[in-house]
Symmetry: C3
Subunit: 269 residues, 3 copies
């Protein structure tokens, strides 16, 4: 048994302007008035499960053991997709079965259960808002420490959403942009390990080369694009006091190429 | 006596960018540090009491008994409008007397009290921010279980804000758009009961007819406008993976007409 | 010793769309699962320490004694700027040493400590996200009541960010705009005390004169710009049901001049 922390984190694409958050938080609190609800973000672009998956990867493990992560970006609501609850040694997740949680836990042990609204006596009030009608009660029950097996039958697998990884083609590594953050930093999918085979790596975005590697922002010169290992563990392309994404005219999903640089171009020693 | 849940929900038009939320939440916590504050939304369009009323209707009853709903969209701040606290059997509300709460509780028993800042020793620090100076302390006191009668004198009535209901004209029902949500769904003011007299109802928006009724999103075909009973209990006009409001060029308050359709046009059997 | 309230307020420029808030809140809760986290705003314009300072001034004192204010607008992250924790008689603050907290506490007693990540066994995981890696754990420790001296060595001073104050030039007072709020109200840096030497003060913005002083919004006439002492304690320029900032074409930092008016122009008696 996992001891519940009482914390439920909320990740959705419901936006912050409508009644959706108010309704789903209430549905949680009616079942567990002691739950501590933590807003992560509700402005995932509608239906963008990859952005949701990337976001989840970067916060879920910060939380105390026994935290319930509610992750509802659900373009398939009201279709045949399953509603699932997932157990790892440390956490519980509730989500539509669309792969959002998979990248976070693929390298850990996990079990998946299909949430059965009959079994937990959830009144299914709509075909369009399972965030309120199924996932909120399920998260609240888990936050009270209910055994996950009571939510419904164990199933063998879940949808696998694979985050893109760099691919070697001849002497280049072809990667892509995972995310643009608020500051215009370009988060690529290159990890330091991916780059171990490349001497003095240089990044190419469209016709621009980013050659300067920095260890911290203090070293940056104005207007010079540079790269740095960011807080998510990936190569990020940045520029001092400006949006690198704006300078490069680049969006999530666009190509970034890593090539070997000459020693002279290799940034700081 | 109603046992307080300790929960205070917050609905405002204060936006999320200024100090307003920080100040009003602090004013609550200074009086009741144990209060559990739940953000609903703070981006009601400035002064839009109808949107606030629609939003409140769709979350207030999700909360545990004894919850205090703070609903401050207050275009009349600093004018003669009363500050009121409302009691129902299950909840407490604080709001300016502009009708925001009325549609949620009109069919229940309720009592209204005028909040008297002298009586509860609230220091009235401004004429422009009663959300901090009057409503926050009043909500905090109620969340501690203070008797609502101690906030001020009972008054006989409150402002009635009536949500628009469909009107029969000859053989049509004239309704309107209550809300556009983040996904571009068009929430009309037609309930299933309103439509009982119409065979195979068809909806007309400007020069477009919406004939297809669906039970869930799985049945939707790309680019085809359809209607469905949404999570708020009203007819919603939607289109798969797109904004129906955008396709229709329609806003809250615009007209929607329901007419009787031929059997052939009546959507799914 | 200051008894902790358990409350941590959060003020940042991290935006609401990325994983940043999720990660920093988790980093707090892992250390203190009992912490009560209160969102103030996360949409301070990137790096705008003056807006952060203005915002903080207007909420920090609303909170119960023993509250920890986390104030991380950090354009210098990863440079040599210190990470500091500040103690006053009533509160604790954590912030980069860039002056954000200074205007709030300059007239009180305060002590400053440099947060030493080694001393508190914080694992410094990035050079780019000290909001998660340093400030969140420090705030969480303070919220548990740890003695602030345990975070690191006492330092003599912090960066002083001085909010602009009106300057007398001949017979005018030259001030400026501190903030534009969501409603388009123009918050100037004139306090009532600044104006004591001016009879019937009139404000000039570009080529427009604002002569009408009101005590509350009820007195306002449509389309007439007026001024009022707002909830932050400054002269605010407003217009009924519209954005005064829009009407005036004015932004934070722009000039506002106060001059002596003729008795006839001096608003209400």
């Amino acid at each position: 048994m996992l001891k519940p922390s009482g914390i439920i984190t909320i990740l959705t694409d419901f936006g912050g302007d409508d009644y959706f958050l108010g309704a789903l938080k209430g549905a949680m609190l009616k079942i567990n008035p002691e739950a501590k609800i933590i807003d992560i973000t509700n402005t995932i672009p509608p239906g963008d499960t990859r952005k949701a998956a990337f976001t989840l990867m970067n916060y879920y493990a910060e939380y105390p053991e026994g935290t319930v992560h509610y992750c509802v970006v659900d373009p398939g609501v009201g279709t045949g997709r399953k509603a699932i609850a997932i157990a790892t040694d440390e956490y519980r997740f509730v989500a539509p079965d669309n792969g959002t949680v998979y990248p976070s836990i693929k390298n850990r042990g996990w079990k998946v259960y299909e949430i059965d609204s009959d079994r937990i006596a959830i009144d299914l009030r709509s075909n369009t808002f399972h965030g309120r009608d199924i996932f909120a009660p399920a998260a609240a029950l888990l936050s009270k420490g209910i055994d996950i097996e009571r939510l419904g039958p164990k199933v063998d697998d879940m949808v696998h959403l694979e985050m893109p990884v760099p691919v070697r083609r001849d002497d280049i590594l072809a990667g892509e942009v995972l995310n643009i953050d608020r500051f215009g930093n370009v988060i690529t999918n290159f990890t330091p390990i991916d780059l171990t085979g490349l001497k003095n790596p240089v990044f190419r975005v469209k016709d621009k080369l980013i050659k300067t590697k920095l260890e911290n922002y203090q070293q940056a010169s104005p207007d010079v694009l540079f790269y740095i290992i960011g807080s998510a563990g990936y190569v990020e392309i940045s520029v001092k006091n400006d949006s690198a994404a704006g300078v490069l005219g680049i969006n999530a999903g666009d190509d970034v190429i890593a090539v070997e640089g000459s020693p002279a171009s290799g940034g700081l020693p």
